[in-house]
């Protein structure tokens, strides 16, 4: 499946299925969450069980996002779109651009300083409403990833230039739980072969099977418009040529209304492709079209 076909199909779905009369205002502010690095609705590092838009079960929603992560030696930008239908299904599309440092480019005699990856995501809500149901909202999803070039991945020993992550997420908002403030948490279990989210390929000499990685987020709504929290993402270690570390962040999110959210975070990505202590700033913006 070529990424162009997928893009065209997704765009087609967006135009065909959505009419202004179904515009999404249905959910409570902040329940649409943020845009995840791989395009799914979620926190920043990890997908959540909530869908990407403010659609209720009679509405559709669409959003676009831009995320930029600047750490010591690398830069990762991710742009994409997400649509959600009747608070049941979410489709997302993201393109990640991973900019490598000059030392690696000359070291490997690379022709391009960038690695690009397309991610197509599907998520289905199985149960619940994060705010109202007694048990957490639960969703399952997949993220299919394709690198534009396998040069770096195969040089490092990765087995594939494409792969599919499968995940299950549980998300719950506890009204007034922390001294009257609302608490939100999410736990995600992800089956993956991806090295550094797929940017360094899939599988490797140390492991070429799916492994379950745990991810989590916890946040507090300080007001209807401000959320602070932390995230954690466990990562596999399939390549023997380079180390891979778990990821963490501390974030602040501002949601002035149901049209936009802005998130900034301090991320710690550990060692990424031979470069140690990759820490820096994560900036993200989501715009809700309807």
């Amino acid at each position: 499946m070529s990424s162009k076909v997928v893009k065209a199909t997704a765009a087609g779905c967006v135009i065909f299925l959505a009419s202004p009369s179904m515009a999404a205002e249905g959910k409570i502010l902040a329940t649409a969450g943020l845009s995840q690095l791989e395009g799914s609705g979620g926190g920043g590092l990890t997908p959540w069980a909530t869908l990407a838009g403010y659609d209720s079960r009679d509405e559709t929603a669409a959003s676009f996002f831009m995320t930029d992560v600047n750490v010591s030696d690398y830069r990762l930008s991710s742009i994409g779109v997400a649509t959600s239908f009747y608070d049941r299904v979410e489709l997302s599309l993201a393109q990640q651009t991973f900019v490598l440092p000059a030392s690696l480019i000359t070291g490997l005699s690379l022709s391009s300083e960038q690695i690009k990856q397309d991610v197509v995501g599907v998520k289905v809500r199985l149960y619940g409403d994060a705010v109202y149901s007694a048990y957490p909202q639960v969703s399952v999803g997949l993220q299919h990833k394709q690198l534009d070039s396998d040069f770096v991945a195969s040089y490092l020993g990765a087995k594939d230039d494409s792969g599919t992550d499968l995940y299950a997420s549980a998300t719950k908002v506890h009204l007034g739980a922390v001294a009257g403030y609302n608490l939100v948490w999410n736990v995600t279990a992800r089956a993956t072969k991806a090295n550094e989210m797929g940017l360094l390929g899939f599988g490797g000499p140390d492991n070429n099977d799916y492994q379950i990685m745990m991810e989590g987020s916890v946040g507090v709504l300080l007001s209807p418009n401000w959320v602070v929290g932390m995230e954690y993402r466990q990562k596999p270690s399939n390549l023997s040529s380079v180390e891979e570390d778990n990821w963490t962040d501390v974030f602040v999110s501002y949601m002035p209304n149901k049209s936009v959210n802005i998130t900034t975070a301090y991320v710690d990505l550990g060692t990424v492709a031979t470069k140690k202590d990759q820490k820096g700033v994560y900036l993200s913006m989501t715009g809700y079209l309807w």
Binding site: E25, I28, E59, A177, A179, G180, Y181, V220, M230, D268
Partner: protein
């Protein structure tokens, strides 16, 4: 650093859970928000909010406002732990036949939040009122 963040992540989680644990409430939510005058203000503001919202007013067109005011006051009073008796119909009975969709339900929650805001409730107090009302949603949606 990763370990430090991990540790603080854990510490924050524990702290939040500890905070979430029920602490001895010296007074009811009803008293905390200011008792009868505040409840009455919320109800009055809510009626006002509804009457200026075309979509939601549809549901109230045939409502006897005097009765609604009295029962809504009683209901808010009882659910926040106040010294009242609710003499109205069940939530299911009240909302039955109206086929309230999720979007309109959530809009009405927003109107109630506005009503509480205007009655002077703080954000944590608003959250706690929503928390005691939230379980009733099942008796209101699509009935």
């Amino acid at each position: 650093m990763v370990n430090l963040v991990k540790a603080s992540f854990l510490a924050l989680s524990l702290f939040l859970v500890a905070c979430a644990a029920p602490s001895k409430a010296p007074q009811s939510l009803y008293d905390e928000i200011g008792g009868a005058p505040t409840i009455e203000a919320i109800t009055e503001n809510f009626i006002n909010e509804v009457s200026f919202n075309e979509t939601i007013y549809r549901y109230f067109e045939k409502t006897n406002i005097t009765r609604f005011r009295e029962k809504f006051n009683e209901h808010l009073c009882v659910t926040t732990g106040g010294p009242c008796t609710y003499t109205g119909d069940t939530m299911l009975r009240v909302h039955q036949g109206k086929n309230i969709n999720e979007a309109d339900f959530n809009t009405t929650v927003d109107l109630l939040v506005n009503a509480m805001e205007k009655a002077g409730l703080t954000y944590p107090q608003q959250n706690q009122v929503l928390k005691v009302l939230a379980p009733m949603r099942d008796e209101m949606l699509y009935k």
